[in-house]
């Protein structure tokens, strides 16, 4: 079932056409990898979907409904959660407080921003979630995020997105700067997220990771989507040649001959 559909999205910055035309569909419970070299338009595309800036032209549909996304808040309310490498958590806050940042459970709601946090609910929900994350090392919901490793932080950020029953989870380079083991942990977690019924849009430079977790691959080049393939129907070299735009057919033939 279709969760997110982009139709002919366009975005220019001055005379630079960062996004010439992008259309694709994301289905329920699938991991789609968005690939492309630097400057291919990947970040522009995900920023448009996550509400960092509006698009110039084109439509976004969530579950078949046409929507307008003007702010990150709009995107979150539509069930689109974006997780950036470095900007997703506040290191000086506890895990529990990070999990609910911007959506704090409160008592006496009429007090607005002065409303007291529902600390019991905060801690319970955080503990339940940590249990679900299943990080081997036992994490305390009150532990500061600054004491966590990079992989643990990614897992916390991803589970936060799941917590809010996000339909679409956008992961922006989730394995950057992570060690081998931690990377595997995060990738395993991505599969679990998919199995739980969420759709994942994975942006990465690492094609090997794509082949481990993705169902489909979308390749962008110079602001356009140039290829869309299922992982089962392609291979690493083909994808690499599409990304760079280089003709690697000779090399491909050679490899296949082996």
């Amino acid at each position: 079932m279709e969760v997110l559909r982009l139709q002919n999205l366009q975005k220019s910055f001055g005379s630079v056409r960062a996004l010439k035309s992008a259309s694709f569909t994301l289905n329920e419970g699938e991991v789609v990898a968005l690939l492309g070299d630097n400057g291919a338009g990947k970040s522009t595309l995900i920023k448009a979907i996550s509400g960092v800036f509006p698009v110039d032209r084109g439509d976004i549909y969530v579950r078949g409904q046409k929507v307008s996304i003007r702010s990150t808040r709009d995107a979150m309310d539509l069930g689109i959660e974006t997780i950036h490498q470095d900007t997703s958590l506040a290191p000086d806050l506890s895990i529990a407080r990070n999990l609910f940042l911007g959506r704090e459970p409160v008592n006496l709601k009429w007090l607005g921003v002065f409303a007291p946090l529902d600390l019991a609910r905060l801690r319970d929900a955080a503990s339940a979630l940590l249990k679900r994350v299943g990080i081997s090392k036992k994490l305390d919901a009150d532990a500061l995020v600054s004491t966590l490793s990079g992989g643990e932080r990614q897992s916390i950020a991803i589970s936060r997105a799941m917590q809010f029953a996000a339909k679409v989870i956008i992961l922006d380079e989730p394995t950057n700067n992570l060690g081998v083991e931690e990377t595997h942990g995060v990738l395993r977690f991505v599969k679990e997220v998919r199995d739980a019924g969420h759709s994942v849009l994975l942006i990465t430079h690492n094609i090997h990771h794509v082949f481990q977790v993705a169902d489909r691959i979308i390749v962008m080049r110079r602001g356009e989507i140039v290829a869309e393939q299922t992982v089962a129907g392609t291979d690493l070299l083909t994808v690499e040649s599409i990304i760079t735009g280089a003709d690697m057919s000779a090399l491909l033939k050679e490899t296949r001959a082996k």
């Binding site: 470095d86 506040a90 000086d92 806050l93 940042l101 911007g102 959506r103 704090e104 921003v113 946090l117």
Partner: protein
């Protein structure tokens, strides 16, 4: 118990003990009353500064606002013939305006708060000097509702306290609640810790910062009024250098200068500490001209201690 406010509290107790042993007068009712009279004036500003620092910004114009607000209020009453209530309202609006300008320039134009509020310090101090032509205002001897409200005094046994102490206690409790227990406090810490993360979660970071600049400015003006009412005079140079003393109180208490980690309890301890240091080293006979040396050294020692604790915590 490695929290910064706890180590500050231990140091405070040690300091108090040293001063008390060195000079019996240190804990006399008169001296305690004296310290408690001065404490709220800088302490109230420090509460606002703690919240602002936790959100990752700071305000160097507080000392100047401390001077300007009472000067404007008293000029309006003495020369303008306005009712004191109206004049106080005008002073309040002035502080709100100064804070709002600081906040808007910092957040919307993106200039560091150090530069913006340093310039504002000059503008505000300059304004106070210009409108008074550099002279302190005539003494103020009209007791009234507002004077009693801000600077009335009362006796408990042999201790003499000012109502400003209630203001400090009340505002401290409010600040503790807001920073540590309210939704807003979560936002403030998050903004100072990782602004982009907070914004990505839909936290209105700019609006929060602007309101905190306004709050700090208003508290500086309130402290200035309390001081002016207490000594029945307003001087255009009042509060000179207070900005640094206030920031010292806040960071000595354990709030991080880089934002994200703030503690109101620590600030209260820090305010008590700087107040008692200033008072105590004079009592124990350190020459008046040398006492800033001691204050500076003790602040440095505190900061080094916090840094070492932080390192240890990170290692374990």
């Amino acid at each position: 118990m490695r929290s910064p406010q706890f180590s500050s509290l231990v140091i405070l107790i040690v300091l108090l003990a040293v001063f008390a042993i060195a000079d019996a007068n240190f804990l006399s009712p008169l001296n305690i009353s004296n310290m408690m009279a001065f404490l709220p004036e800088l302490g109230i500003i420090a509460l606002g500064m703690t919240l602002l620092l936790t959100a990752g910004e700071f305000d160097l114009s507080v000392g100047a606002v401390f001077g300007l607000a009472p000067v404007v209020v008293m000029l309006l009453v003495q020369n303008g013939g306005f009712d004191i209530g109206v004049a106080l309202l005008a002073g309040l609006l002035l502080c709100i305006a100064i804070g709002a300008i600081n906040g808007l320039i910092v957040t919307k134009i993106g200039i560091s708060s150090f530069l913006v509020t340093l310039s504002m310090l000059l503008v505000v101090r300059g304004a106070a000097l210009y409108i008074t032509q550099g002279f302190p205002l005539k003494s103020w001897n009209q007791p009234g509702f507002f004077v009693t409200l801000l600077a009335g005094s009362f006796n408990i046994g042999t201790f003499r306290f000012y109502t400003s102490l209630w203001w400090f206690i009340g505002l401290s409790l409010l600040a503790i609640y807001v920073l540590h227990y309210a939704k807003l406090g979560n936002w403030i810490s998050a903004i100072g810790s990782n602004r982009n993360a907070a914004v990505a979660r839909g936290v209105p970071a700019d609006a929060v910062k602007i309101w905190l600049f306004i709050l700090t400015s208003v508290l500086a003006g309130l402290a200035g009024m309390i001081s002016a009412f207490r000594i029945s005079a307003a001087s255009p140079v009042a509060g000179t250098g207070y900005e640094l003393e206030v920031i010292a109180m806040v960071v000595v208490g354990g709030t991080a200068l880089t934002g994200g980690r703030g503690t109101i309890l620590g600030t209260i301890v820090g305010a008590l500490m700087l107040r008692s240091i200033r008072n105590g080293i004079v009592l124990i006979g350190v020459p008046g001209l040398a006492y800033n040396i001691f204050v500076g050294v003790i602040i440095l020692a505190m900061l080094i201690l916090h840094a070492l604790l932080q390192k240890n915590a990170a290692r374990s």
